[in-house]
């Protein structure tokens, strides 16, 4: 998965280490071998995505894809989504919301805020693995700027 000849970095914001490990395993099984940068806290993840001063300028010469869990211990995933999509330098970064929540209003809110894909983590592992593998397919067709 490349964009403008550069490797796309996958930023995984997920507080549950088990989930993170499962997501990584399935992404790898889908044949995606891009670098994955994991974060368990929203604040630290935003420091990385938007830069320490949160101005988003760090994104000028790199290409990211964000996997976002909505329920983080330190802040709400919705806030993270809002900040990424609200910054002119980062709003083009594809954000895949990957969470256990299947509340309709929450899903709608995420799409309204500019989320590109919303995936519910099913308890049924086959469904989970399939969802991630489809995500791998999505990665291979997505036009990352």
């Amino acid at each position: 998965m490349k964009a403008s000849g550069q490797e796309v970095i996958i930023v995984m914001i997920e507080d549950d280490e088990g989930h993170a490990r499962l997501i990584e395993k399935n992404i790898r099984r889908a044949g995606v071998h891009n670098e994955i940068v994991p974060f368990t806290l929203g604040g630290k993840a935003l420091d990385y995505v938007l830069g320490e001063n949160r101005d988003g300028l760090v994104n000028r010469d790199r290409y990211l894809l964000v996997l976002l869990d909505l329920n983080l211990p330190d802040m709400s995933g919705i806030d993270i989504l809002q900040q990424i999509k609200g910054n002119e330098h980062s709003h083009a970064i594809p954000v895949v919301v990957l969470t256990t929540t299947d509340d309709e209003r929450e899903i709608q809110k995420c799409y309204d805020l500019g989320a590109n894909v919303y995936i519910t983590k099913p308890v049924d592992y086959e469904g989970f693995a399939t969802a991630i593998r489809n995500l791998g397919l999505f990665f291979s067709v997505i036009q990352v700027p």
Binding site: G18, H19, G43, N71, P73, D74, V123, Y125
Partner: protein, 498 residues
């Protein structure tokens, strides 16, 4: 209800008492009047007795006077009083008999009088007869026997004794009449006073009842006015509680589902790893290939322990979550025990548990209190609430800045008290001021151990006490937790029961 029954009872009692008094007075008055009438009748009849006694005496004396005159003058014209007396005597005697006959005490008088009068009359008629025939000497001789005088004295004596007795009886009757009149007067005065008292008492009772009624009506009106407001308040509370339950259910199901995803996921990973291992172990006669050996080793050395580790930690996590929910539910179900509590003393005692941690960094705790600090509430809940708040304040103090705690207690409208717990800690971001009260949610930098239960617990505890907690915060400068409590928990229960 009880006041109405008491009113009925007391007014009926009053009425009954009044009626009884009046009946008594009327009865006694009637009896007195009747007695008076009897005295009057008796008086009248005694006067007749007296008149008839006087009448017979006069008649007898008239007869004697006529006889003496005739005897001296021998003139027939002097005989007139005698003739009249003789004519009148039977009527007089009859009147005397009529008036005295019914009175047994006079019976002896009549019996004694009859022969005396008869004797006297016989003596008179005999001397007159002798005079008329010209036998003056015989007539004078008859007179000088003194028999007539004695008879006359006897008559006088009997009649005077009767008169005296009659007069005494009359006097007795008069004094009886006077005392009856006196009694009547006193009974009337007493009756008037009693009536005044009963009427006054009745008016007082009615007045009190009317006042109670109007007070109750005012209360009902005030309640009616407040009812709409209370219904709205309750509706808002219900909506809020409902939203909280939904949010709680949402959080709980989400957070419980997360470890389940892990368990199911890593169980599948175990399957995958076992396949790799079994390919090696079950190879039997066939020599396993390089790849198979490498995969089997990798599975045994890395994948299997990793999967089992995650399954174990996820199970523990679920257990911890369930325990946390149980704790909140248990505290929510605990029976509250309202008692009088000095809020200031309770807060002081609670700050002392974190005092040494404050002292370590040169921090301090100040309590300022208004006039009223005494409330009726549940001690255990309040201790938990302040304990959690002070623990949090210590835990999330701004590194390098001595922690300063300011607790301010003051009245907040009628029957409510407000406690501000202000710290100069790291503060909470504006977007997180509601989130910090949610179960399993935390805010800011995650450099402290914690499960995200403390503030959720505080809010559920204080709402159980009929209060609420909110927070105002300035990120990096400090937070103020604003607690509002009813001053009397028992009144909150009562208004909930209504």
């Amino acid at each position: 209800m009880t006041s109405t029954a008491a009113f009925l009872r007391s007014s009926l009692l009053m009425l009954g008492l009044g009626i009884l008094l009046l009946v008594g007075i009327v009865g006694y008055s009637l009896w007195l009047v009747q007695a008076n009438r009897e005295y009057s009748d008796e008086t009248a009849s005694l006067r007749l007795v007296r008149a008839s006694i006087v009448g017979i005496l006069t008649t007898v004396q008239d007869a004697e006077t006529g006889e003496r005159g005739y005897l001296l003058s021998r003139d027939a014209s002097y005989l007139e009083p005698y003739s009249e007396a003789i004519d009148e005597l039977p009527a007089r005697w009859k009147a005397l008999q009529d008036n005295l006959g019914s009175r047994p005490d006079y019976a002896i008088t009549l019996d004694e009088l009859k022969p005396a009068i008869d004797g006297k009359m016989a003596e008179l008629s005999k001397s007159i007869e002798l005079t008329r025939q010209g036998k003056y000497d015989e007539a004078l001789a008859l007179l000088s026997t003194d028999a007539g005088l004695r008879l006359m004295d006897r008559i006088r004596e009997i009649l005077n004794a009767s008169l005296e007795r009659t007069d005494n009886q009359l006097l007795g009757l008069v004094s009886k009449q006077l005392s009856a009149a006196d009694s009547l007067q006193w009974v009337t005065i007493g009756g008037a006073i009693a009536i005044l008292l009963v009427v006054g008492g009745a008016i007082l009772v009615i007045f009190q009842h009317v006042r109670d009624l109007s007070r109750a009506r005012e209360e009902v009106m005030a309640l009616n006015i407040g009812l709409e407001e209370r219904v709205n308040e309750r509706t808002e509370d219900l909506i809020r509680a409902n939203q909280e339950i939904q949010r709680f259910a949402y959080i709980v199901t989400h957070d419980l589902r997360a470890p389940l995803v892990n368990i199911m996921g890593f169980l599948s990973e175990l399957d995958t790893s076992i396949k790799a291992v079994s390919a090696y172990v079950m190879a039997d006669e066939r020599t396993p290939g390089e790849d198979e050996i490498r995969e089997a080793r990798l599975a045994v050395s890395e994948d299997l322990p990793e999967a089992m580790g995650f399954i174990r930690s996820s199970t523990k996590k679920m257990d911890a979550l369930i325990n946390a929910i149980l704790k909140i539910s248990r505290d929510g179900r605990r029976k509250l025990q309202p008692e009088r509590i000095d809020l200031k003393a309770l807060i002081e005692a609670n700050t002392s548990t974190v005092r040494h941690q404050l002292a370590e960094t040169g921090g301090e705790a100040n309590i300022t209190a208004g006039y009223i600090t005494s409330i009726i509430s549940d001690r255990f809940s309040l201790e938990q609430i302040f304990g959690n708040l002070f623990d949090n304040a210590v835990k999330y103090k701004m590194p390098g800045r001595p922690l300063k705690l300011d607790i301010d207690i003051r009245p907040d409208g009628p029957r409510r008290i407000r406690i501000d717990v202000r710290d100069n800690g790291r503060g909470i971001g504006q977007q997180d001021v509601e989130r910090v009260f949610e179960l399993f949610r935390r805010a800011g930098e995650q450099d402290q151990q914690g499960e995200g239960i403390g503030l959720a617990h505080v809010r559920s505890l204080i709402r159980n006490l009929g209060g609420d907690v909110t927070v105002e915060s300035d990120l990096g400068k400090g937070s103020t937790f604003i607690l509002s409590l009813p001053t009397d928990l028992t009144k909150v229960f009562r208004s909930m029961d209504q």
